[in-house]
């Protein structure tokens, strides 16, 4: 068996491959050779083979068959083997596989090896990938090594201890004694890793934090020595002595000084010294200054020091180096809440950063600018931010637009300014505005009563220019629908009123309906707007025509709306003006605005929640016409079901839940129907805001042995009443009274007449269809008085 090819040889060969396929072929060939070599338990070349496997793994090929080989290498006596074995373990094994536990014993032995480099390998592997079980088993060994005088081992043991604590926090206590004289070391490696260990312990345990506070003077001394010390070639970086250690000490001081007056006082001087004396021409100096600023801001420093810190950040903002500007903006963002005034002083520099070419900086500057907006600077800031919105990349536009809306809402100096700002955002970044902005804006516009004419005029003009930005178009259509009368009568006070006729307005709205640019939601808005104008404009016939055309639209949503509006014209004309009248001022619900009044899919049906309006009239179904035919002779008015029975409306659902108990309201329930095993009970409740509405829940139960399926309940009431039937809980009435079908009926009885009802039941039972009619006359007086 010839010796397997050398690592370097393999690398060179693989690099000559010209295609991916060629490379794969080479790799597969070599893997096969390696596998057979592993099978032969070849000790001499195992190391070489695993090294090759690691290279192929880096290229992205599977190497799991080498895992056990790594363990064998670790167990070998040869240093070369161990080195590659441990590397392989760190690359190929992870704590998810049980295989890794086999390492534990080897590591334990190697931790006690006579050669420090072997011990180092073991510590390194444990400290990088040791699982919780391994850490538990070997923590004692690590703790022992933490106390050794060998600085090479001590520093590694310290970071290994950090890893152990991260994995198994309960073991933290056992390392406490070993930390006693860690800081008296001269070796920078040990010092640095010790500070890291102390930091980790203080972050995890308030007791440790309190215990280590006494180290503050020592830390201050070490830091001072670093700053004052002369040039040391091994630790110097651009004239600064061991910046890594300095930064780490500053970070530990931050944790120790937080919320503690004495500690903060003890570090005041050194912080001031570092802040003023550090060389700022290179990145390394600025790294230290940055950490110093973070520390000053976090501890209980005196105000002079805080001002110094913010000024350093201000200077950072003017630095040529982008990284430093970025870091400054990030830090200012963190401090803007607590030191608002100090940060405000740098506002103009921050705003200038909006024009920076770097994307990361622009984003930070934008966030910070929004944080700085207040009642005093709103006009100026908004000008800059709107300019930014115009010219920024699309990835920013959505966030910027939202930020502008929020800021405008909080600090708008006048309603007109507010509307103008919104208009500006909609026209420049209209397609990036978030969906929920549309209802929020509509609510805002509604509530600015004196600005209605101005708003609708401006929106109309914007529509004439551009109909591609959907949020703008939606808000504009809604406003034109609401305030079209103001538009046509030229009542605008704020600016020169434009001359526009009813036909021109309807042209624009109809244009939206047919345009390819309009989304289905927008079309819905436009159609509703046209409908609303039927009570505000005189050209009702034109509107009727449009509405009837869309009654056969392919878009189901539009079709439904058109059919409903058609019905409004035909059968419910007497209700039309009431239904379509001006919207009242909406109350804001949560901070996000009136989500219950204006649904986020853009619907703004005027009928949804307002209790003052009569209950909504919805789509007439075929069942309703059947009922009409059926009840033709009488002067009963038919009533229509709302949605398909399979989808219960949420309002109905809640009511159903509420009325689970039969005798809730003190009005006695009645049995409305009881025949052929089907029993229907009525329970009553008064609807809360409007005492003229009685809420009746029917409970249908079935005492026969077979289910009643396709169960449909219909009801009709005399003309002076109005009735709304919500969706039933299901349309199967289970046999043997195992369950009930419930359905809610709302009856409006403004004239307080005696309630009568005619009901029709249809269902399938034992394979045949059943139908029955009945009258219900035994309503208790409390239900309608």
């Amino acid at each position: 068996m010839p010796a397997p090819i050398r690592l370097r040889e393999l690398i060179r060969t693989i690099r000559t491959a010209r295609t991916q396929a060629e490379e794969r072929e080479m790799i597969q060939k070599e893997c096969a050779a390696i596998r057979s070599s592993f099978r032969e338990e070849d000790n001499t070349y195992r190391c070489r083979n695993v090294a090759k496997l690691l290279y192929m793994h880096m290229l992205g090929y599977p190497a799991h068959f080498g895992q056990l080989e790594c363990l064998k290498l670790i167990a070998s006596q040869k240093f070369t083997d161990k080195r590659i074995g441990y590397l392989g373990a760190m690359l190929l094994l992870d704590e998810r596989q049980d295989v890794h536990l086999l390492m534990t014993n080897c590591i334990k032995n190697d931790l006690n090896h006579s050669t420090q480099y072997v011990q180092g390998l073991a510590l390194c592997t444990l400290g990088c990938m040791g699982s919780s079980e391994m850490c538990r088993d070997l923590a004692g060994e690590v703790e022992k090594l933490l106390k050794t005088s060998n600085s090479y081992l001590r520093k590694k043991a310290a970071l290994c201890a950090v890893h152990v604590i991260r994995k198994v926090p309960e073991l933290m206590e056992m390392f406490l004694p070993a930390t006693k004289n860690l800081l008296s070391e001269k070796n920078h490696g040990v010092l640095h890793t010790s500070v890291v260990l102390l930091t980790e312990m203080c972050e995890r345990s308030p007791d440790m934090l309190a215990h280590f506070r006494k180290l503050v003077p020592q830390l201050v001394r070490i830091l001072k020595n670093l700053i004052m010390s002369g040039y040391s070639p091994e630790h110097d970086v651009s004239g600064i002595s061991d910046p890594f250690l300095q930064v780490r000490i500053l970070r530990l001081l931050r944790i120790l000084g937080k919320n503690d007056d004495d500690s903060s006082e003890a570090m005041n001087d050194i912080l001031a010294q570092v802040a003023t004396n550090t060389e700022t021409s290179k990145n390394v100096g600025n790294a230290i200054l940055y950490e110093t600023v973070l520390t000053i801001m976090d501890i209980k420093s005196e105000s002079g020091l805080r001002v110094l810190a913010i000024n350093i950040l201000g200077r950072f903002l003017l630095n040529n180096d982008k990284n430093i500007r970025y870091v400054a903006l990030t830090s200012l963002l963190k401090t803007v809440q607590t030191d608002h005034n100090a940060v405000q002083r740098h506002r103009s520099t921050i705003v200038d950063c909006l024009k920076d070419l770097d994307v990361s900086i622009k984003r930070r500057a934008m966030e910070l600018s929004f944080a700085l907006v207040n009642g005093n600077n709103i006009r100026g800031m908004m000008k800059e931010l709107l300019y930014f919105l115009d010219s920024c990349d699309p990835e920013f536009k959505a966030d910027c637009a939202s930020g502008v809306f929020l800021a405008a809402e909080k600090y708008a100096p006048s309603k007109r300014w507010h509307i103008d700002t919104i208009m500006r955002v909609l026209t420049t970044a209209g397609s990036y505005v978030r969906d929920d902005s549309v209802p929020n804006l509509i609510q805002l516009i509604t509530n600015s009563v004196e600005m209605h004419a101005y708003t609708v005029q401006r929106l109309y003009k914007a529509l004439l220019d551009d109909i591609s930005q959907q949020p703008l178009v939606q808000v504009a259509s809604w406003c034109i629908g609401e305030y079209g009368d103001l538009l046509v009568s030229g009542q605008c006070e704020e600016e020169e009123p434009i001359q526009v006729t009813e036909d021109e307005v309807l042209d624009v709205l109809e244009g939206l309906l047919v345009s390819n640019l309009s989304t289905p939601v927008t079309r819905g808005y436009a159609l509703t707007a046209i409908m609303k104008l039927s009570t505000r404009f005189s050209s009702v016939n034109r509107i009727k025509k449009v509405v009837s055309i869309y009654g056969s639209s392919i878009d189901v949503e539009l079709q439904q709306r058109a059919v409903e509006y058609n019905a409004l014209f035909k059968k419910y004309d007497h209700m039309r003006s009431a239904l379509l009248e001006r919207m009242p001022i909406m109350e804001k619900t949560a901070s996000n605005g009136p989500t219950e009044i204006v649904q986020t899919n853009g619907e703004t049906e005027p009928s949804v929640v307002e209790p003052k309006h009569p209950p909504p009239v919805t789509q007439p179904t075929n069942q309703a016409t059947d009922l009409l035919d059926l009840l033709g002779g009488n002067d009963m008015v038919s009533v229509i079901q709302t949605t398909v029975p399979t989808k219960p409306a949420s309002a109905g659902g809640e009511l159903l839940d509420l009325l689970g108990d039969l005798s809730l309201s003190g009005i006695p329930p009645i049995t409305a129907y009881n025949k052929n095993g089907l029993k229907i009970d009525f329970t009553f409740e008064r609807a809360n805001p409007n005492p003229n509405i009685a809420v009746i829940t029917i409970h249908a139960s079935n005492s026969t042995e077979t289910d009643m399926t396709d169960f449909v309940f219909q009801a009709a009431v005399p003309k002076t009443f109005q009735l709304q039937l919500l969706s039933p809980s299901s349309n199967v009435v289970p046999a043997l009274n195992q369950g009930t079908v419930t359905q809610v009926i709302r009856v409006l009885n403004p004239q307080k007449q005696q309630l009568r009802m005619r009901i029709k039941l249809t269902y399938t039972h034992r394979g045949s269809a059943v139908q029955d009619l009945a009258e219900v006359n035994n309503f208790p007086p409390q239900s309608w008085q």
Binding site: R6, M58, H192, R251, N283, L357
Partner: protein, 154 residues
């Protein structure tokens, strides 16, 4: 602490991957892909810092190699740049005028050097000489000279 350190070429070839937290193979591949997608298209004179998920990403290009590290929120980004620079210096000292080929053909050495400089995502040794000394001494312990010691002809 650092969460990971990656070295990759301009063409998107991975040259070194050091992970300081346990991740599955699939997660690692995803991180590598994401980092390459974020870093490679960046223009020359832009900021060296990025945000990715909840981490700060610091990257620096040295000749044909990108050095890319993932930091946690409390870590100092400016110092991370110094950490990357120090690692390059250490490689340079060890290999003598290091180039990408050195790291390709001697990747295991690059790992050994890294393991003398960082451990568990934290800096282990701040002295630029100490790492070189440890490497030299450890190298002398290697039994087979021909395997790794000679500088290869590419």
């Amino acid at each position: 602490m650092l969460r990971f350190l990656l070295l990759f070429s301009r063409q998107g070839k991975l040259r070194l991957q050091k992970w300081f937290t346990p991740l599955s193979d699939r997660e690692k591949k995803k991180v590598i892909r994401d980092m390459m997608m974020l870093v490679l298209p960046r223009l020359p004179r832009t900021c060296n810092f990025l945000h990715w998920k909840d981490l700060k990403i610091v990257y620096k290009r040295y000749a044909s190699l990108y050095f890319c590290a993932g930091l946690e929120d409390q870590d100092n980004e400016l110092l991370a740049l110094e950490v990357l620079h120090r690692y390059v210096e250490l490689l340079d000292k060890y290999f003598g005028n290091v180039c990408e080929l050195d790291i390709i053909f001697n990747f295991e050495k690059a790992y050994f050097i890294l393991d003398e400089f960082l451990m568990g995502g934290e800096i282990l040794e701040t002295s630029r000489f100490a790492v070189g000394v440890s490497m030299e001494e450890a190298d002398t312990l290697q039994e087979t000279m021909e395997e790794y010691m000679s500088k290869p002809a590419y």
